[in-house]
Assembly symmetry: C2
Homo-oligomer: 380 residues x 2
């Protein structure tokens, strides 16, 4: 028996509480039952998004919510600046171009970030920039971008800040209202521990005002129309009912743990993973500003990273992820987000040791586990 373990940077494992809640008989979405469910969910979402405004759920994956953010706040020909330092930064560029935006790329090599000063510089140089688009956690590289810094330089300008928090919501602290982030985009399958299929957009009042003048065509993703239903705890179009049912469960779990502790847990798991990986002599890919959602690691010299991913799966029934785009074969990525705890990290590191040994890399068995345990033994 090899127990299946999902340790990829999303989708992440779903807790049994949510799986079983979603396995209950289907309910209809135009009923008092659904309204009661959604009223609780709305309150919980506002707390998790750290905002006073309405969080709008959409039946789509994270990319759909990214598109919704763009088509509701911008118009064809608008100039935007995109922080591009990974596959998901590239996705912002692609969406912008698909909708006829004039995209200024603030690029950094994969594995690195773009300092807030560069964003400020771009805004100073091109005052017509209508929006800055970025990831919070760039899950293709494992880098956490400085959203707080971006917000500080965006806020005094006419540009709104649109943040893809798909792999950071309920993982890394993101103070939407307090920092002045205008649009936060998220998905269900990362920190929220649910199956994929739900996207979210949270807009500041500044962003809602923009939505009124945006001329990009939209229908399914029309957030102004959807919001009119959300405030009544209803949905414009048929919602992903079962995932909303699961959402109530995970929101209760997150509420019970407390958001500060949720962030602390992810930070500990990330630090333990990094310590373990380095104890094996491996090199971290995202050195300066690693994300607490996942750890990206250079494959040892002479080893194809895809072989490491395959061995995790074939020999140990554990799903991790390889590199994406230009990093394919060069890095592997260990997820530790959402429904992840200390002994998942211990298992992942022990498996990594065994996989490396199987691939002929000399390994001091237990070294990475020991390093992780030392992190876990630290006083909180």
């Amino acid at each position: 028996m090899k127990k299946y373990q999902l340790m990829a940077p999303g989708p992440t494992p779903v807790p049994s509480q949510a799986l079983l809640a979603m396995a209950q008989p289907m309910i209809h979405h135009r009923t008092p039952e659904y309204e009661a469910l959604f009223t609780e969910v709305r309150r919980g979402l506002a707390r998790i998004f750290q905002t006073q405004t309405d969080v709008v759920p959409l039946a789509c994956s994270g990319t759909g919510a990214m598109e919704a953010a763009v088509v509701n706040t911008l118009s064809a020909g608008d100039t935007v600046a995109v922080v591009r330092a990974g596959k998901f930064g590239e996705r912002w560029v692609e969406i912008g171009k698909a909708y006829g935006l004039n995209v200024i790329e603030l690029a950094a090599p994969f594995g690195q970030t773009v300092p807030a000063e560069r964003v400020a510089e771009a805004l100073g140089k091109t005052p017509s920039i209508k929006a800055v688009l970025t990831q919070h956690s760039e899950s293709s590289t494992g880098v956490l971008h400085d959203v707080r810094g971006f917000a500080a330089v965006t806020r005094p300008t006419d540009a709104i800040l649109i943040v893809d928090a798909v792999s950071s919501l309920a993982i890394a602290n993101l103070e939407t209202d307090a920092w002045g982030v205008d649009v936060v985009v998220a998905g269900s399958q990362k920190g929220l521990m649910l199956p994929p299929g739900l996207g979210f957009c949270a807009l500041s009042e500044r962003a809602w005002a923009r939505a009124k003048t945006s001329t990009l065509p939209k229908y399914y993703f029309n957030l102004i129309q959807e919001r009119a239903f959300v405030v009544k705890s209803e949905a414009h179009f048929t919602p992903a009912v079962s995932i909303i049912v699961g959402l109530r469960e995970v929101l209760r779990m997150l509420e019970a743990e407390g958001l500060p502790q949720v962030f602390k847990r992810h930070d500990r798991l990330a630090r333990a993973t990094r310590a373990g990986v380095e104890a094996l002599g491996l090199e971290l890919f995202a050195k300066a500003t690693p994300s607490p959602a996942l750890t990206s690691v250079h494959a040892p010299r002479g080893v194809d990273a895809e072989k490491i991913v395959a061995a995790f799966s074939k020999t140990h029934n554990i799903t991790i992820a390889g590199g994406q785009g230009e990093m394919k074969g060069r890095i592997f990525r260990l997820g530790h987000m959402g429904y992840a705890a200390e002994f998942d990290t211990i298992s992942a590191l022990a498996a990594l040791e065994q996989v490396l040994a199987e691939l002929g890399v000399p390994v001091d068995f237990g070294a990475s586990v020991r390093a992780a345990q030392k992190v876990f033994a630290e006083k909180p």
Copy 2:
């Protein structure tokens, strides 16, 4: 104890086989496991859609798939003809207008249909029409439109036929390839017996050719890009994994039953429901061409239809639906689609009798049940 029964025109009950399959641990979508799952699903979908071409699933509800059909096959300024005879016909009009199409409305009063001759006439009068858009089953009114007839008149022209089959797929016969339907749009939560959250588009080669020249902006719903992944049994963006897992189960169930029998079952349930309703002296709303997916019924004189819906729910824990838009308060709708069988219909009719009696309408108890049983007793 009041057992909960979902008898609305979608979402519909989900069989336990699918609920429990979806409650299994989450799997990752970039793995051989997912590819094997999706390979089976692809084959099953092609059979259910009665097409040789690739059916493209999208993580969205039916409306998202409707929008995908439009933005992939048309360009701004194109003229389209819309069969508008209910709320979902209106939705085609709204989507068309949101994307700058020139919409010719072929309207009929709610509860009626538009004859194929009127479509032919419109095509003759306006040869620039690029597409005809229609529902198959208009679930707001309970009418089944003559898609076969529409296809016959559309096929010889340059116009493609786009059919919203959200509430007819795996319910009413729709021979996509044989009839020459160019785009079939569907959702997961009706005949496919799944939770909402998956949409589908099946395009003919003629429609795929159109997709190459369509200039409407799109990214998340770009079907050409998505198809490139579908043919490899992969997905461009994170798919709604759990619903795809459930889809394998329901496709196996539908396969075991056999598509002709699936259509026959729905036809029998619909005929039994109509016979039962008429045995109570109630008037059907969709007289000429009723849908096998649902039965829409005029409330008895002097009774608010919303009160009937409320009594079903409050007294008997059964969800049915009222009228939508202009029909609110005037009709109620009984769904009998998807995971629905004879004794569900019997229950619905018995409950209807009890509800009417509770609302002070004179009722001959058992009359509607008897009428339905006579239909069920007919030789197949």
